[in-house]
């Protein structure tokens, strides 16, 4: 018993003991952190509350009576094309992710491993092209679509959107992936080549498995993109049944006929939850993926 007591009196931490100033500073730190956490959480909880508040009608207003109800969700599912929008978004996102992945995995590999003519110039061009906002070409997209769909009738507006998303993602993602592949030792390729691997086999059997973490991040980003973007769908897609989530939910806000703000909150909540879950689970990879690409590129 005595022994234990002695131990408690000993200062065992490897941090220095806190001075009075230190305690005050720590208190301030906590205050700042908590204040900011409240600033973040308050609006978000408001959203959750209004999504479930049965006493809200078409407009969201402040009222103190809270009646739990899922009627806004019901409205969302029954009165709007919510599920069609979800389906559209997932389709667009998935195809975009796959296309981007296929194209970028090749270009990233080529730019990292080969010294070909025009490499530096095209890298520079890639870098510059990606700074031009997608916006600049917006007038042309319409017309381009009508020209292509005249030649290939199955080329829908959604496909145009997919092409724009994947085309726009090539430059930046090539850069990120190139940076990642640069960090993979070339000795691996050399060994594989000595064993008789062709370039394609080196790509498929050596580089791609090692680059998987970064490929996953690129796929994820390309997949999330269509969920986040609302501008292009709004401009390009004209039919509500071909809308993506963002464009569809916007109609609950912008159009008088379909205005229903609590339903928007409900839809936003449903959209945000899976994405937030994904971000929380993968936050380390997502952040490291970003900074890795930038530092190396």
């Amino acid at each position: 018993m005595k022994l234990f007591k002695k131990k408690n009196e000993l200062y065992l931490s490897d941090k220095q003991p806190l001075s009075t100033v230190g305690i005050v500073m720590l208190g301030i730190s906590y205050a700042v952190l908590i204040a900011w956490a409240i600033a973040i959480l308050w609006p978000l909880t408001q959203m959750v509350i209004s999504a479930f508040n049965g006493s809200q009608e078409q407009y969201l207003m402040v009222n103190d009576n809270f009646v739990f109800s899922i009627k806004h969700f019901e409205y969302l599912f029954k009165e709007t094309l919510y599920f069609t929008w979800v389906k559209n978004t997932i389709f667009i996102a998935a195809v975009t992710a796959v296309l981007t992945l296929v194209i970028v995995s090749f270009t990233g590999f080529a730019y990292s491993r080969y010294r070909f003519k025009g490499r530096k110039a095209s890298l520079m061009a890639i870098m510059l092209i990606q700074t031009i906002p997608t916006f600049a070409g917006i007038t042309a997209f319409f017309t381009l679509h009508s020209i292509i769909s005249a030649v290939v009738p199955v080329f829908s507006r959604q496909m145009m959107l997919i092409m724009i998303y994947s085309g726009g993602g090539i430059a930046g993602n090539t850069f990120i992936l190139k940076g990642y592949i640069d960090s993979i030792s070339t000795e691996l390729d050399d060994a594989a080549r000595i064993d008789g691997c062709t370039s394609m086999q080196v790509y498929r059997l050596i580089i791609m498995p090692i680059a998987k973490p970064m490929l996953a991040i690129i796929a994820l980003w390309s997949f999330i993109g269509p969920f986040m973007d609302y501008l292009l769908p709004r401009v390009l897609l004209t039919n509500p049944s071909s809308y993506t989530l963002a464009a569809g939910l916007f109609t609950l806000m912008s159009d008088f006929r379909t205005m229903n703000q609590p339903a928007f909150a409900a839809g936003g909540l449903l959209t945000a939850i899976p994405i937030v879950a994904l971000f929380i689970v993968l936050q380390k990879q997502l952040v490291s993926g970003l900074s890795q690409g930038s530092v190396k590129g």
């Binding site: 941090k15 730190s29 700042v32 952190l33 900011w36 956490a37 600033a39 973040i40 609006p43 978000l44 959203m47 969201l60 207003m61 402040v62 296929v102 090749f106 080529a110 730019y111 080969y114 070909f116 490499r119 530096k120 890298l123 510059l128 092209i129 700074t131 031009i132 916006f135 917006i138 007038t139 042309a140 017309t143 030649v151 994947s166 085309g167 726009g168 090539i170 090539t174 370039s199 394609m200 790509y203 986040m228 609302y230 501008l231 806000m253 703000q261 928007f264 909150a265 936003g268 959209t271 945000a272 994405i275 937030v276 994904l278 971000f279 929380i280 936050q283 952040v287 900074s291 930038s294």
Partner: protein, 697 residues
């Protein structure tokens, strides 16, 4: 008369003496001509002329002609011979084997035919070498093939003869075995679990132990399965099939690469001294390759030819257009067209035509360069590559081009064509009154913007000013807040870090359009935040109706949104800073503030700088926050006209111009201006970045 070299060279520069004695003599005379003068020179020239005049009677040429004649005779007889042999062979023979057999016979014959001519010409030497290699290696392949085939047939027969009864009993046994193994596995597993309960082993050991047991069970069952007669025979058949296809193919590849090696070592000798094919075949890609006897390449370039003459050129001339008139459409812009003809379509089709023509030109150029290159090499003595070598070369050197091709095509049509359209559009007069038909107006749009005049141009400068302020303040604030929070949260004495990190991640993770719209709802006259402020300040403040307040709230909102990302980024970097740096600083007596200033900030800034710069460009073009929060408003027609609101950024102004008010031309001009600005910004940043300088090129 071209100049001949006395020696031939291969790719690595080894010299070979000429076997064509006639050319050799010419070459010697020509080189002698250089060193002599006066009367000797005259003599040498006449000797050379004599030589050329008597070309046909030169002993070497006579020999060579005989060789050629005999070769022709030999080949015809050989073909006939092989044909009769083929018809005599067993008809039931495997076709592949039969072909290999005939190849071998042919090679043996050829080998003995070419042997005496090896000294005469390099071509004969190559033929000899080639067939020597084949006659050495092919028998082995044939034997292997025949052997495997035989084994395969045997295995198949065996498979048929397996007694079904035996197989049934085996399966019964197997089932019992599996049941037994499973019971054993469960028993061992529960034993392990018991151990864990008694705390003899750790949780991890338990998990690994279970995995190990599972694997063991699986392995044993699999091994047992393969003792089945049926299963093992089936496996054997699969194996033999694999050898017959892939295995044999690999052997043949080795053979071909041996032949390719000898092609590299045995030079070629030709009489021409100038790359003449390339000069007259460049208009038709594929023809030159055909003349160079590179048939595979010729086929590929012929496809290129088809593209040039059946797609690119007709399209550029206006055939097969959707509505436009090829390149001419760019000039006329449908000026005299029908009523339904649209200038924009003419313009875009013209641009597409130009890109097609550029691609066509590149194909022609590549073909020309390829033919010329091969011809030059042939003159030097290097043999043109055969199909096998070409494929190998494409596989290795052409790989980066080949795999980047889809990316290039998508970029050209999805990125470059629209951007070019925007550039050209900015020189036209497309506005609400000229939607279907418009013409070129030169730099008028730019003039309007520069002087700040006109309906759309007048507000440009004030919007630009606000855009710059917005970009600078909103981004810097977000970075500062995010960074500050990261430093505070990284303090080792702070508890509940995980909680704070998850909460701080939320603004980044929730799709921005949702949060922005929800904030917009909350700031509406009856919204939650408006009510809250009314309660606090006592008066009702309508944020969205006041320009200054809207701008302030927008900046605050962007800080809320953007700090999250910076927080996560800086936290990642902060955690990676080695602790000894701080300890060393502490020993040297640094205060907390000094540590922050000298270690933390430089480290974080250095690593995240490119991304932070990216944040500035992002905010410069941050359309959604402006447009979704208040639609660019509040509107103030006396100051901002009817097209823009007082919180509009350039990007949302462009959106309103092009999409809502149909001032496409001037919108395009503004897009081009800001794109140029951003590109310059990126160029400077990129040029100075460490990564670009250190790039191993």
């Amino acid at each position: 008369m071209g100049k001949y070299n006395a020696f031939l060279y291969d790719e690595v520069g080894n010299a070979y003496t000429r076997k064509n004695l006639y050319l050799h003599e010419i070459a010697q005379n020509q080189s002698a001509l250089k060193s002599v003068t006066g009367a000797d020179r005259e003599k040498a020239i006449s000797a050379l002329r004599n030589l050329i005049r008597n070309k046909k009677n030169h002993p070497y040429n006579v020999d060579f002609l005989t060789y050629k004649r005999e070769e022709r005779n030999f080949l015809t007889t050989l073909n006939a011979k092989v044909k009769t042999l083929a018809s005599n062979l067993d008809a039931s023979m495997d076709p592949k084997l039969r072909k290999l057999h005939l190849d071998l016979i042919r090679s043996n014959e050829k080998k003995s035919f070419y042997k005496p001519y090896v000294a005469l010409t390099y071509d004969a030497e190559l033929e000899y070498e080639k067939h020597h290699i084949i006659s050495m290696q092919l028998p082995e392949i044939i034997e292997k093939y025949a052997q495997t085939k035989k084994e395969l047939v045997e295995a198949r027969i065996k498979l048929k003869e397996i007694n079904p009864e035996e197989e049934r009993t085996f399966h019964k046994n197997l089932k019992q075995f599996i049941v037994g193994q499973r019971a054993l596995y469960l028993k061992n597993k529960s034993k392990l679990k018991e151990k864990r309960k008694q705390k003899i082993i750790s949780e991890k050991a338990l998990r690994n132990g279970i995995i190990e047991l599972k694997k063991k069970k699986k392995d044993l069952i699999n091994t047992k399965k393969y003792t089945s007669e049926k299963k093992s025979t089936q496996e054997l058949i699969n194996n033999k099939k694999y050898v017959l296809t892939k295995g044999i193919r690999r052997e043949i590849k080795v053979l071909k690469s041996n032949i390719a090696d000898s092609r590299r070592k045995i030079p070629v000798e030709v009489t021409k001294t100038q790359p003449i094919y390339s000069r007259f075949t460049f208009v038709l890609p594929g023809l030159g390759q055909l003349l160079n006897k590179q048939y595979l390449k010729a086929m590929l370039f012929a496809l290129g030819s088809a593209f040039v003459y059946f797609i690119a050129i007709p399209y550029a001339l206006g055939y097969g257009n959707y509505q436009g008139d090829g390149i001419m459409g760019l000039v006329t812009l449908a000026e005299f067209g029908l009523k339904i003809d649209k200038s924009l379509i003419y313009m875009i089709e013209g641009i597409v035509a130009i890109f097609l023509i550029i691609i066509a030109f590149i194909i022609l150029l590549l073909s020309y360069l390829d033919v010329r290159n091969v011809e030059r090499k042939v003159i030097k003595g290097i043999r043109p590559r055969n199909a096998f070598e070409t494929l190998l070369g494409v596989e290795q050197d052409g790989f980066p081009y080949l795999v980047s091709l889809p990316a290039l095509l998508v970029t050209v049509f999805i990125v470059l064509v629209p951007i070019t359209t925007a550039i050209l559009l900015s020189f036209t007069g497309m506005d609400p009154k000229h939607q279907s038909k418009f013409g070129w107006v030169g730099i008028d749009n730019y003039k309007l913007i520069a002087t700040g005049s006109g309906l759309a141009g007048s507000v440009f400068w004030s919007i630009l000013w606000w855009t710059l302020i917005w970009t600078a303040v909103a981004t810097t604030l977000a970075i500062a807040v995010g960074f500050l929070l990261a430093i505070i949260a990284n303090n080792e004495r702070i508890k509940g870090k995980t909680f704070f990190r998850v909460v701080y991640l939320l603004p980044w993770a929730v799709p921005a359009f949702i949060t922005i719209m929800f904030f917009s709802i909350m700031f509406s006259p009856d919204g939650a935040l408006t009510t809250l402020m009314t309660n606090i300040f006592g008066t009702r403040i309508l944020i969205k109706n006041d320009a200054v307040l809207t701008r302030t709230v927008l900046i605050g909102l962007q800080t809320w949104l953007g700090s999250s990302y910076v927080f996560l980024l800086s936290t990642g970097v902060l955690q990676a800073i080695p602790g000894d740096l701080y300890e060393a600083a502490q020993i040297d007596g640094a205060t907390e503030f000094q540590k922050l200033k000298r270690i933390t900030i430089p480290m974080v800034l250095f690593q995240t700088a490119p991304l932070l710069v990216g944040q500035y460009t992002f905010n410069f073009n941050n359309f959604s926050i402006i447009y979704l929060f208040n639609g660019g408003g509040p509107f103030n027609p006396s100051k901002y006209g009817n097209l823009a609101g007082s919180s509009d950024l350039l990007i949302s102004y462009i959106f309103k111009l092009t999409m809502e008010n149909q001032y496409q031309a001037i919108g395009a001009a503004i897009s081009i201006i800001i794109s140029m600005g951003l590109m310059l910004f990126a160029f400077i940043g990129f040029k100075n970045s460490k990564a670009f300088k250190e790039e191993r090129l």
